[in-house]
Amino acid sequence: MSPTQWDLPVELCCRPMAFVTLTGLDVVYNAVHRAVWDAFCANRRADRVPISFKVLPGDHEYPKCRPKRTSYEWYIPKGILKTGWMNKHLNLVPALVVVFYELDWDEPQWKEKQSECATRVEIVRQSLQGRNTKVAVVLIQKKTPLPPGEDVIASERAAALCNACELSGKSLFVLPHTDHLVGYIIRLENAFYEHAQTYYYTEIRRVKSHKEFLNKTTHQLLFVRHQFKIAFFSELKQDTQNALKNYRTAYNLVHELRAHETNILEIKTMAGFINYKICRLCFQHNTPLDAIAQFRKHIDLCKKKIGSAELSFEHAAWMSKQFQAFGDLFDEAIKLGLTAIQTQNPGFYYQQAAYYAQERKQLAKSLCNHEASIMYPNPDPLETQTGVLDFYGQRSWRQGILSFDLSDPEKEKVGVLAIQLKERNVAHSEIIITLLSNAVAQFKKYKCPRMKSHLMVQMGEEYYYAKDYTKALKLLDYVMCDYRSEGWWTLLTSILTTALKCSYLMAQLKDYITYSLELLGRASTLKDDQKSRIEKNLINVLMNESPDPEPDCDIFAVKTAQKLWADRISLAGSNIFTIGVQDFVPFVQCKAKFHAPSFHVDVPVEFDIYLKADCPHPIRFSKLCVSFNNQEYNQFCVIEEASKANEVLENPTQGKMCLVPGKTRKLLFKFVAKTEDVGKKIEITSVDLALGNETGRCVVLNWQGGGGDAASSQEALQAARSFKRRPKLPDNEVHWDSIIIQASTMIISRVPNISVHLRHEPPALTNEMYCLVVTVQSHEKTQIRDVKLTAGLKPGQDANLTQKTHVTLHGTELCDESYPALLTDIPVGDLHPGEQLEKMLYVRCGTVGSRMFLVYVSYLINITAEEKEIVCKCHKDETVTIETVFPFDVAVKFVSTKFEHLERVYADIPFLLMTDLLSASPWALTVVSSELQLAPSMTTVDQLESQVDNVVLQTGESASECFCLRCPSLGNVEGGVATGHYIISWKRTSAMENIPVIRTVITLPHVIVENIPLHVNADLPSFGRVRESLPVKYHLQNKTDFVQDVEISVEPSDAFMFSGLKQIRLPAQAFYSYQYFCQATGSTHG
């Protein structure tokens, strides 16, 4: 009995193909024969007929055929199926023997050759005596044959040869050895295939013919055997439908057999074989549901057929094999294109196979625990003469015995013992692990992550039983996080317990500590006594001692482990283990919380570290350190409590670092932030908590950020959703759930203690030097240094404003484009407490509109915080919005010398330019002076002195000026003639003496100049006296180049008496002036 006795035989698992032997081929020395043989063998793809060929010598001895039984009356079968039968028909007994013979139709020595060929056929026939095997002859010819019927000699000689060899014409073939060898070979093998099918058909008929002789009482076994044979022959015939039908019948028949403890194995073996064939064919026919249904039926029927209780492990082994074989079939079908689904895939069968393999192991463990002194029986009852069994599924020590009574109980006992002893040597774990890993591969493919994890746990446990702890740990460690992340604590605890055992047995310190930490934690569902034990072991390990062995471990493994632990102790160094907690759930929880989201730099930064232990006993930690993104602060946040190694559990309630289970411990830390960190974030990057000390072993638990482990985010979410009212606790205690981690804080600058005032007179006037008085007063208790002022246009406004706004400290000179919009860091010296300083700023705004101005005062001050002197930089800013307006409006109009409004002026005729300056400023303005700058085309009639010098205008008041101008004739100018500029120099009346005057230039409008032909100018005295003559003088001036006829008529008013010509006609010369006098006397009344 080999360990693989449960494997299905190869001849059962292969696809049966017609067996054809080729004789007369010398494939070693004859190149032509070799080529023929190669053509048969090479490229046997699915499109070629299913035949298995074999080259044999012509005188090969085929298995002898037993003489035909004429009557079954006295025949009693000894078993169901002989072990050699399938192989015999697959590989030994051919359906067709082909005799190859080199012979051309025009062979000169035809007679001799013909008889030699006949002899060869005869020899083959002799060795096949009694069998229905067909014989065929293939003539290998050098020449290409002529088309049938044309070669007369050929057909004659063919008939003669057939006759000589006693062959039918259908069994004689010609193989011309020409270029088209493969084509001929394919035609040949198709012909062979037909012969083979006929052979298997007759075989089926032959077996069927036995049936009528059988009777149900003594030949029950034969019913199964025959049915199986028919099905098998059908398969060889490639008639899979009938094969399936017959296998099904055979399957039903096998279960009709009378089962007893002695033959149950044979029945199960055969049932398994037939079931395998049925399932295989169903998959082949693409009816996977039929295959599954058959398999289920098979399992249901056989599940309870355990057989001998002493050998019940055999049943489990057989069951396991059934599932495995089906899984293999299923998997193979998938590879050929079948689609499986999540709930129906080969993985389930491998899984079940693994379960039975585990059961086998359990049963073997309990049944095969013989004393070491019991020797394997001699002679070996499992040995047979031939080395193999005659029938499938029988016991070697009672082959062929059909009686249900045990004729020799002693022999039976020895046989069972032999099997049990053999079973003890089976590597069960290996089998189980292989099956499980098969299943894992399948479940991975069909989206079953949890099933995969579960199977991996089982694999890990199996490795543990197989004492391969390294592999066990690897697998368990891999899946732990899946259970942890989904919060299945019972399952996690069970896995951790196994993992702890593995790490104990290997004396893997770090793993041992990690698993202990988690098993003590809140994720563990262990009972308190277990936790206490683990905690004690953990403390022992930390004190550099060996832990107690884990329960339920193999005694020998424990011995080895104890030695390993002892060795570990003597080893010095590398006794500090840092364990990151973010991936598991340790028994200490940690939360860090800054007291505020931001701290001023002059007050100490404060935060709390909350710790809570979940282990059963109080525990003392040796050190706590907090790390920050700025490592400078790390040194301030360390608590170290010197304690002797053995004090870890003593004096439990004393000391800061001793945690009482379930109680939240709050540890306050304080440090002063660096002034460089103002405006930066201070973050806790990690919290390290050390257990044990350097003299023994030391574990450092490392929390990333402000604490929290694998389970805490879920817990926090749950706590947030919860509306449970928490019972009140004493003042200094807090509820763990209510603590929210705050791992970072901002450092902000110190609150300034100065006042900044702005004094000014809004609105600003365009282009003026607007004065802004900044008053800074210190309210600090000590001197402040390095006061700096930044003032000007607040950045971030319209970019155009920057171009049109200029700031200076010096108001005595006008600022131009080169001045900045913002003055930065103007040093203004130091200030004593209470002292105040004033700074004047001048702003010049080129455009109207509102602007935001910023005044920013910064200073340094020395502060003592936590007995540490620090220099703080403080600052205060003020912003102000200032409106800029035009100081005045200037209106300009042209009037005649008689103050009549003019649309246009006349060439060479004097006119008046009137300016009107209306103050729009809310503050009084002083017009320092005004100036008229004439364009070259304009001339002045009299002096252009300013008439508004030093005029003060209140709001709404206006100042007007009048200039008499004349414009010479220029011809027709499009758009009029430029007049010139009017420049006003002004300042605020309130402005100081040294403030420069602002010149505002106003461009005067263009005026249309028109030429006129005749100009009349009346020269009237400004007054007349009653009854005295009043001389009236009219000047007529011809402005043209031509002489003009002028008629003048005077129509005096009734108030005057008139003398002189009333009507005159005269020619007026070009560019000539006339004076016309007339006198009028009269009286005015009222």
């Binding site: 989206k447 079953c448 949890r450 989904e486 299945w488 019972t490 919860s722 019972p727």
Partner: protein, 176 residues
Amino acid sequence: MPLIPSLWESKANRSLEFSCLRPALGAGAGSCVTSGGSRDAARAGPPKLAVCIAVMAKENYPFYIRSTPTENELKFHYMVHTSLDVVDEKISAMAKALVDQRELYLDLLYPTEDYKVYGYVTNSKVKFVMVVDSSNTALRDNEIRSMFRKLHNSYTDVMCNPFYNPGDCIQSRCAQ
């Protein structure tokens, strides 16, 4: 201080009476009664209705899990946990269907050699899983459905209990 909370606790414990584990009272299949008064009947023995029932949160951690053969609890825990693979798959397939056509009952999740595992999911993605002995042929689809419906009602009752804290494991007097 401790007086009032303890009163609350006792009320909370009475909240869930999962009767599916208990034998069917009287004839007929859907006779699981949601009342606390039949605890004696619970000890009366077979035929059991389900060997294991479990309630899982949206996040897949167990709220409540109980199996009748208590000696091999872990096996059932694993079985329920692995069945979530199929539940997840069914839920994601269901998400594509229209809301009002949604069926809460998920049918047979997968059969093992000895047990059948059934699933049910509420609209808030709370999962119920029930493990039934394969040999128990008395349970047809309809019975399983009605058991789930009762379980769902019991669960709803628990959720309606003002003393129950959402997210906590469910306590049942049956389980003690």
